[in-house]
């Protein structure tokens, strides 16, 4: 599904140039669950941005489903993104002004799904995430674990092929964290590809494969399953 080859990304300020990604290469097959680990500043987030089509690489190749997407413009990336990729963030990033239901509904609105159909899909996914009873609450009224479940629901409501998770349990206690991980496992078992950036060895053990990074390069790769 994803093939990156010699991927490069630089950050320039007036004086210094930092290499965020240094000729990074790896592949992810459809249905895989990959964890990416490494210390702060190793380029994990940059990588996730590029994989999520939020940012452009400075060099190398990025094949998504067999198509070269490096160099796509914002409009094309946006199009590809909304049909194929779901995001889960450490800080949940729910919209404060919208209820649980409305937050989950948002991606469907952007892809142009009809209202009746939207309602059906949102309710189905809320049911699955066991958050249906909170559908009319606003994010601030929920616990962290509940918020992250809403975020996961929002990420999957469009049935994306790929979910990118950026430290999904980073702001949660262990019980809530485990629940979220269980959700991701369920999704993965149902066929969704997952790439997760994490600091937690515990979370990483849920994945099939761990890629460890340092200074923008891949250091090791452990296959777990």
């Amino acid at each position: 599904m994803i093939q990156i080859t010699d991927l490069e990304k630089f950050y320039k300020t007036e004086e210094v140039q930092t290499i965020a990604l240094n000729k990074l290469s790896f592949n992810v097959k459809e249905g895989e669950f990959v964890a990416i680990m490494g210390p702060s500043g190793c380029g994990k987030s940059t990588l996730l941005n590029i994989l999520g089509l939020l940012d452009d690489p400075d060099g190398g190749s990025f094949m998504f489903n067999g198509t070269e997407v490096a160099g796509y413009n914002e409009r094309k990336r946006s199009e590809l993104r909304k049909h194929n990729i779901g995001f889960v963030f450490q800080s949940f990033n729910l919209i404060d002004e919208l209820t649980v239901f409305e937050n989950v509904e948002l991606p469907l609105i952007y892809t142009g799904v009809k209202p009746a159909e939207r309602k059906k899909q949102v309710e189905a996914v809320l049911e699955k995430m066991q958050i249906m009873h909170r559908r009319n609450h606003f994010p601030q009224q929920l616990s962290g674990g509940q918020q992250q479940r809403v975020a996961v629901a929002r990420a999957v409501v469009n049935k994306p092929k790929l979910i990118l998770a950026d430290e999904p349990t980073g702001n949660l206690d262990s019980t809530n964290g485990n629940e979220v991980m269980d959700l991701l496992i369920d999704l993965n078992e149902a066929g969704t590809t997952i790439i997760m950036v994490t600091h937690s060895e515990h979370d990483a053990k849920y994945s099939h494969r761990i890629i460890r990074m340092l200074d923008g390069q891949k250091v090791t790769e452990n296959i777990l399953a």
Partner: protein, 794 residues
């Protein structure tokens, strides 16, 4: 999708109360102002639009071609006749004279005497061209016979109550007896012409002997077709003038003014009988002010919404990761702005309703609240809503929509960049505008103060002028003078044609052995008038006490400016014969020091008191020894009524009358003050909001500084200085602008204050103080907060 945007916008409004209140309040003040002014402008522009012949009616203007180059609205009485007879394009022409050349009439109806300020002597054609609607009796044709009169509906009611007025007689000023022959509908409020009583012009001397001299008659023309070739007609008028008046004696020429321009473009013309004059400059200034306030309010919106860009960036980022396109985001921000503007609009409408009476009071207008609900206003509102939303929404929509979705994953630490520069720029614009307004208000106030306290060369205090135009015959008048002289508290009494502050007769004076002439105001008066006014005699004597009947000798007492023009010293001038259209036998008898007989807009011109009987002495001027009480006035009224039972007791105090000369400026000052306060309030609202968000944005920095030992005053200083610096820049920008504008405004006065540096100091101090108070509150709040709190949130 749009529903979801409205939902987000609405909920975001509710969660961010301060932001919403500041924004909506600022915008609604701006909108209310614009609305009230639009009403006002609409009303001013509607003048005379109701007349069917509005495109065919023109007024003849007279332009003097000597010294002052003034434009008068009156022309000689021969003009209408000659033009109608000799220019085929003109369907009809007519003349209009306000009673007694602009005075008050005393009308005896039944057994009561009424003071009538709107009696006009008019040709029938004037009523025809303005399609005056007759509701009872005969129409304009009655003006072709003498001793007839037409009354307005409300005047007929005032004079005769519910009795049938037709066939009743009226006595005007105890002289002319006229019969009421018809009743016309009251003139609408937005008509330039406004008659209560119309009597035939042909009863006037000027109609019996039409001349090319006395330019006191407003002349209206109706053309056969709309929009005639004005230049062509004006050339023909010049030909007619050349035929009738020798080139050497032509001290004027004529031009034409279309009816639609009469209301707004006549404010600089002299001596019009039309009192409902507007001023296009006032309209322009007010429009500019309204737009300025609206822009300041829009700037607030833009500033506040972008000041919160950190939160916005995250929002935009999330939406983009969920699939929103740039277009979606732009639409979203416009909708949000549109919603806020709509709420502000409604609130602004309510404010306008509340503010309208206040505006009417300050501006001296009678705008009607019901006109707020007209179709024009509704179209205007929708238009303003659209424009405001577009202006205010553009910046956030176009700027924020470009935020990269990366922001979500790693919030940028770059706090502003371009946005912050633009924001600061906008604050500078707001404050510059406010400071210009503050300075404007101070200068206008100083100028008015100056005018009111300036030494005028005569003493207007404790002088009363009583109108005696209805008292005929020397005996009755002499009896009146004698009776008043005997009253306690009266020091001097004298009769005169007019008094300083009102127009008297305009003539011209010729410098002997040259072609040079100069306009001169002449005032038929008694010797005592100079004492009433406390004028200073420079040479010669005051007018002689007595004058024999039939004596053709005319004695003249002129002011210093007159003898300066003649090239004589006051002493040399005594006994010299003068050519000033007072016959061949006029001599200078005395010279008085200059005094400001007109408003201080004009420099002192030539002025002469004389004892020719060409004009009636219509006023009794009385000087008191001390302040007049109301019982003294009723005592006067009794004395007056005893001698002149057929006249109403009408009086004015000279100093009160002078204040009327500056009414327009006083109004300008009041309206300016109102607008400036509004502008400053709106700008402060913006500053307040901005300071709140600035403090919020820098809370982490403040926390760190406090952990490392910064004191509360240091933090307050840190936060306030940023804004203070902006205000200082505004001062630098606004000072020269304000100086330029106010200097322009002062040019209208012949006597004016110089703009002193203290004005700028006061305005600057005021602006800095307002800023400090506004920002200080937020700064102190941020500074005293516990730093642990702010540092923990990251």
């Amino acid at each position: 999708m749009i529903r979801s945007y409205i939902k987000i916008a609405w909920r975001s409004l509710k969660t961010n109360r301060l932001f919403s209140i500041v924004n909506i309040l600022g915008l609604s003040i701006g909108l209310a102002t614009t609305l009230v002014l639009f009403l006002f402008i609409l009303h001013e522009r509607s003048f005379d639009s109701m007349y069917a012949n509005k495109d065919k009616i023109y007024r003849v203007l007279l332009n003097t071609t000597e010294d002052d180059l003034e434009t008068w609205t009156g022309s000689p009485s021969a003009v209408a006749l000659e033009l109608e007879a000799n220019i085929p394009d003109i369907a009809e022409a007519g003349r209009l004279l306000k009673h007694d050349f602009g005075g008050t009439a005393f009308i005896k109806a039944s057994n009561e005497v009424f003071t009538e300020k709107k009696l006009f002597w008019s040709d029938a054609s004037v009523l025809d061209m303005f399609d005056v609607e007759i509701v009872k009796g005969e129409g304009s044709e009655v003006l072709k016979t003498p001793n007839t009169v037409l009354l307005s509906e409300s005047t007929a009611k005032r004079y005769f109550g519910n009795e049938n007025p037709i066939g009743k007689t009226l006595t005007i000023d105890d002289v002319d007896v006229v019969e009421v022959r018809g009743i016309f509908k009251d003139f609408p409020e937005n008509s330039s012409l406004d008659f209560n009583v119309v009597a035939p012009f042909l009863m006037q001397n000027a109609a019996k002997n039409p001349t090319w001299d006395n330019a006191s008659f407003e002349t209206f023309l109706r053309f056969n077709s709309a929009s005639p070739n004005v230049a062509n007609v004006e050339a023909k008028i010049q030909d007619i003038l050349d035929k009738n008046v020798k080139k050497d004696d032509q001290w004027y020429n004529f031009s034409l003014q279309p009816l639609e321009e009469i209301h707004l473009y006549s404010s600089t013309y002299k001596d019009s009988y039309i009192e409902r004059n507007g001023d296009i400059n006032q309209i322009r200034n007010l429009t500019a002010l309204a737009i300025l306030i609206l822009i300041i309010a829009c700037i607030n919106y833009m500033n506040l919404i972008t000041a919160r860009s950190q939160k916005r960036a995250t929002d935009v980022g999330i939406n983009k990761t969920l699939g929103a396109s740039v277009r979606d985001i732009i639409v979203r921000f416009y909708i949000e702005t549109g919603l806020i503007t709509a709420i502000a609009m409604i609130l602004g409408g309510v404010l306008a309703v509340v503010a309208l009476p206040v505006f009417n009071d300050i501006a001296g207008k009678e705008l009607d609240i019901s006109s707020l609900f007209s179709i024009e206003i509704i179209i205007f509102l929708v238009l303003i809503w659209f424009v405001t939303s577009l202006i205010s929404g553009s910046y956030p929509a176009l700027y924020l929509s470009r935020f990269s979705p990366k922001e979500v994953l790693k919030p940028s630490t770059n706090k502003g960049g371009v946005a912050s520069v633009i924001r600061k720029g906008l604050v500078v614009v707001q404050f510059s505008a406010s400071v210009v307004l503050i300075i404007g208000v101070i200068v206008i106030h100083q100028q008015l103060e100056y005018i009111q306290n300036k030494s005028l060369g005569y003493n207007p205090e404790n002088v009363m002028a009583i109108s005696t135009s209805a008292i005929r015959g020397g005996q009755a008048n002499q009896a009146l003078v004698n009776a008043f002289k005997k009253l306690p508290n009266v020091s001097v009494v004298g009769r005169s044609q007019g008094y300083p502050g009102m127009g008297v007769s305009g003539r011209s004076i010729n410098k002997p052995n040259t072609d040079e002439t100069m306009g001169i105001s002449t005032n038929t008066s008694e010797r005592e008038v100079a004492d009433v006014l406390q004028l200073k005699l420079l040479a010669g004597q005051l007018l002689p006490k007595n004058k024999q009947a039939g004596d053709t000798l005319v004695e003249v007492v002129v002011n210093k400016t007159t003898v300066d023009f003649l090239g004589l010293s006051p002493e040399e001038a005594i006994g010299k014969k003068v050519a000033m259209q007072l016959g061949n036998n006029a001599y200078i008898h005395g010279v008085v020091e200059d005094f400001n007989f007109a408003s201080l807009h004009n420099p002192i011109g030539a002025y002469a008191f004389h004892n020719s009987n060409r004009e009636p002495k219509s006023y009794l001027l009385i000087r008191f020894t001390n302040e007049v009480l109301s019982e003294t006035i009723s005592n006067f009224e009794n004395t007056f009524k005893n001698i002149a039972p057929n006249s109403a007791f009408e009086y004015t105090f000279l100093d009160k009358n002078l204040e009327l000369l500056y009414e327009k400026e006083q109004r300008t000052a009041n309206v300016g003050l109102l607008f400036s306060i509004l502008a400053v309030i709106v700008a402060c609202l913006g500053l307040f909001g901005l300071a709140a968000y600035m403090a919020e944005q820098r809370h982490k920095e403040i926390g760190i500084r406090k952990v490392f030992g910064a004191s509360v005053p240091r933090i307050v200083q840190l936060l306030s200085m940023d804004f203070m610096r902006l205000v200082l820049i505004s001062l630098v920008i606004s000072f020269p602008l304000a100086f330029y504008f106010m200097n322009q405004w002062l040019q209208d006065f012949a006597y004016r204050v110089t703009i002193s540096w203290t004005v700028f100091a006061i305005a600057g101090a005021l602006a800095l103080m307002i800023t400090f108070v506004t920002v200080g509150y937020q700064a102190v709040k941020a500074a005293v907060a516990n730093p642990i709190k702010s540092l923990r949130t990251e």
